[in-house]
């Protein structure tokens, strides 16, 4: 007999331990993709339990089921339209009131559900005790206490979930609002009950009063009259309360959540502040918060790049060690060269992706899970605001100094598409380690460190002004920081590793093909003797406009693969690493400037494509080429005029 299929969705606020429970339940049988046509991530996994094949969907972490964000819309439509067999509402026992606000909305949707009362350990530490039976009685929903990070209660949760589905579900309690709001809702419900709607009438009634446009449109199709009645009722409520109707409904819902929370929880404030409290106070302190942040970031930076450099070299040596073996097999003729070109692409990808990106993700997720990331955002909000971004954007920008790829991927922590794009754009302009090699190895070594420093300053100014420009040009509202700073907690290492694994796999899928094609193309051009003609074709730009030797046309093309190749190839083609003989100081400065800005490298372009699609990625690339060329030419003329 075939196993019966069940679908269970996990829903709840952000940072309540949903993904830890998801990982416990599904192990490695996970698939991470996007919701159809949306940039919202969809995590799905399967498990077998008591003769069932159970699909678990981990819905995005949200605070409400309105249409404020894509995440909310996706979750709501999934629960209301696709109707999973059961919703497990994961709630944070240490912030009960706010979490119940979301629970109440799930109850309004009349979805079969159970509650995982998670982070019981953190609640206990804060002196919060919860009467679970009482909570079950009030909500008429089974409540299972869990400590997901330790696996406590997860099995019982699954047992209860299956038991509830088998029993046929008990309807959750109707949660009543205060006085006349409840009356008005009921009036609307009576009218809506006559219509055959996909959604529960009470839910539709509340959403109409909240002025929810999606629901309004749907009801309008069937009965425009009800929509106008709802609008009249909303006006009446507004008149009575002196606040807009959606405000009144949200307040009422919070009022109910607060009442329930007060009824079921007992607060015994501990005599002395907990460790997490102390840590919070120190790390967000007005004065010492900053040195702590800077030292920690420098340490992380140092660790990632020491580890990255070491492993990158090691991998490079090992992989290139196979070259003689390869030449024996394929020979060094045309075929051999081409195939080796493809392999070199793989080597380049591996030596970038694994040594830098893996530790980067592990640390990023550790910082996020523990709660420190939100403290960094709190401290840096002010600075980033000048660029129209808020505090969280500091993280990708900082990472960009190491490598732009994790920086672009790290922009996911921003809330809106617009901010993700601005932050990613800004990050691609940050001088990464490879560009530092050019700046220091060419300008720093042959012109003096003050000129290298000047390049960095120019770059920071460019980042700042282009960031501001993008912020002004791109449509949409800038979001100010509204962020929860949840209590510090020990991250769950298994979840961190899994998240890292999925991100890296994703990066390999996107970047490797592009890197391989890129290096193949260059190898082909080289073996057909196309490099010289290309240099000639590019010479109006390189020679006439930028005042550089024609050969830089070739090296800049190689630089797209890996930026430091600009310098490496220059040495090869010029036949000397003493650039003072072959380049004038002005040429060095202009070349370094152009190399610094002219295009994100192939791996970064791949990351941009992954996050924003081909169109936006090509736009950024083309814009940066044009910008670098224009600026390079102007600088060339200015420096020549200044007689340097």
């Amino acid at each position: 007999m075939r196993e019966k299929k069940l679908v269970i969705a996990l829903a709840g606020n952000a940072n309540v331990g949903k993904s830890v429970i998801f990982n416990y339940l599904t192990g490695l049988h996970q698939h991470i993709g996007n919701w159809p046509g949306k940039t919202v991530e969809r995590a799905e996994g399967t498990l077998h339990f008591r003769g069932y094949t159970i699909d678990i969907i981990d819905l995005p972490g949200i605070y409400s089921l309105s249409t404020y964000s894509l995440e909310e819309l996706v979750s709501r439509n999934y629960i209301a339209v696709e109707r999973p067999d059961l919703v497990i509402n994961v709630i944070d026992a240490s912030v009960l009131e706010r979490n119940l606000f979301f629970t109440l909305q799930l109850i309004e949707l009349e979805t079969p559900m159970i509650i995982a009362l998670n982070q019981m350990d953190i609640a206990r530490e804060k002196g919060i005790e919860i009467d679970i039976e009482r909570l079950e009685k009030i909500l008429k929903v089974p409540v299972i206490p869990t400590i997901a990070t330790k696996g406590v209660g997860v099995f019982q949760l699954l047992e209860k979930a299956v038991e509830m589905i088998e029993k046929g579900t008990i309807k959750p309690a109707k949660i009543e609002y205060g006085g006349e709001v409840e009356e008005k809702v009921n009036d609307l419900v009576k009218m809506l009950e006559k219509l055959q709607l996909k959604y529960p009438p009470r839910y539709v009634a509340i959403k109409l009063l909240e002025g929810d446009q999606e629901i309004e449109q749907k009801v309008n199709w069937i009965s425009p009259q009800i929509v106008s009645t709802a609008k009249e009722i909303a006006k009446e409520i507004e008149r009575l309360h002196g606040h807009s109707c959606p405000t009144v409904i949200t307040s009422e819902r919070y009022e109910v959540a607060g009442c329930i929370a007060r009824e079921v929880q007992r607060l015994v404030v501990p005599a002395k502040p907990s460790i997490s409290e102390k840590l919070h106070n120190i790390t967000t302190h007005k004065i010492i918060g900053y040195p702590i942040m800077i030292s920690l970031l420098l340490l992380i930076f140092y660790l990632i790049f020491t580890f990255g450099n070491y492993t990158s070299d090691l991998l490079n040596n090992i992989l290139y060690g196979y070259k003689p073996l390869f030449t024996d097999l394929f020979g060094s003729g045309f075929l051999g060269t081409i195939v080796w070109g493809a392999i070199e692409g793989v080597i380049a990808g591996t030596t970038i992706a694994l040594p830098y990106i893996v530790p980067f993700y592990i640390i990023l997720y550790l910082l996020e899970d523990s709660g420190y990331l939100s403290r960094i955002a709190f401290l840096m909000d002010n600075v980033m605001h000048k660029m129209g971004l808020h505090g969280k954007a500091f993280i990708p920008v900082m990472l960009g100094f190491g490598c732009n790829v994790p920086a672009c991927l790290g922009c996911r922590i921003m809330e809106t598409e617009r901010e993700r794009l601005i932050a990613a754009f800004v990050s691609t302009l940050v001088p990464c380690a490879a560009r530092s090699v050019i700046i220091l190895g060419l300008v720093g070594a042959f012109m003096g460190i003050q000129w290298a420093l000047m390049l960095y300053i120019i770059d920071l100014l460019i980042i700042f002004s282009l960031g501001r420009l993008a912020f002004k040009v791109l449509p949409g509202e800038p979001t100010a920081l509204i962020m929860e700073m949840h209590d510090y907690k020990l991250p769950h290492f298994g979840t961190v590793l899994k998240e890292t694994w999925f991100r890296v796999a994703e990066f390999i899928k996107i970047a490797f093909p592009l890197i391989i094609v890129g290096s193949l193309a260059i190898k082909l051009a080289e073996s057909f003797g196309l490099l010289e003609p290309i240099a000639t074709i590019l010479s109006p730009v390189t020679v006439t406009w930028l005042g550089l030797p024609a050969v830089t046309g070739i090296t800049l093309i190689f630089g797209v693969l890996r930026k430091e190749l600009t310098l490496v190839m220059l040495a090869t083609l010029m036949g000397t690493a003493n650039f003072a003989i072959v380049l004038t100081p002005v040429q060095m400065f202009v070349l370094a400037l152009v190399a610094m800005l002219y295009i994100p490298c192939v791996a970064t372009i791949a990351a941009l494509v992954r996050e924003f699609g081909w169109k936006k990625a090509s736009f950024i690339a083309i814009f940066e080429i044009a910008f670098a060329i224009i600026l390079g030419g102007v600088t060339f003329r200015l420096l020549t005029l200044a007689n340097i």
Binding site: Y63, S64, S66, Y68, S94, V95, L96, E97, R98, F101, H243, P246, T247, T250, S251, Y254, G258, A261, H280, T284, K286, I287, S374, A377, F378, L379, D381, N382, H385, H390, G391, E477, T479, A480, L481, I482, M483, E484, M485, H486, D487
Partner: protein
């Protein structure tokens, strides 16, 4: 900006001192930007009538750290300017 209201004053949240509490009276809408941010604030529990305690604010007009309904939030300064709260001031 301040308004006298039966012994209590209505001031923007951003003007509260560290450790001071106030009760939300209203949220000033933002011109031409829809009401997305108000909705967001309310979903996080900042509704009229709610008690907010300012824990501290980051230096140089940085964000404000507040306690609301048992949770700890960080609000950008501009956002804190738009939340009006009633406080007891003698």
């Amino acid at each position: 900006m301040e308004r006298q209201n039966s012994g209590r004053v209505e001031v923007p949240l951003s003007t509260l001192r560290d450790g001071e509490s106030g009760v939300v009276s209203s949220i000033t809408p933002c011109h031409g930007r829809g009401w997305g941010f108000e909705k967001r604030l309310m979903d996080l529990g900042i509704t009229p009538g709610t008690k907010i305690t300012v824990v501290k604010s980051a230096p140089f007009h940085g964000p404000v750290e507040i306690l609301v309904r048992g949770s700890r939030l960080a609000l950008g300064r501009g956002m804190a300017d738009r939340i009006l709260v009633e406080v007891d001031r003698k």
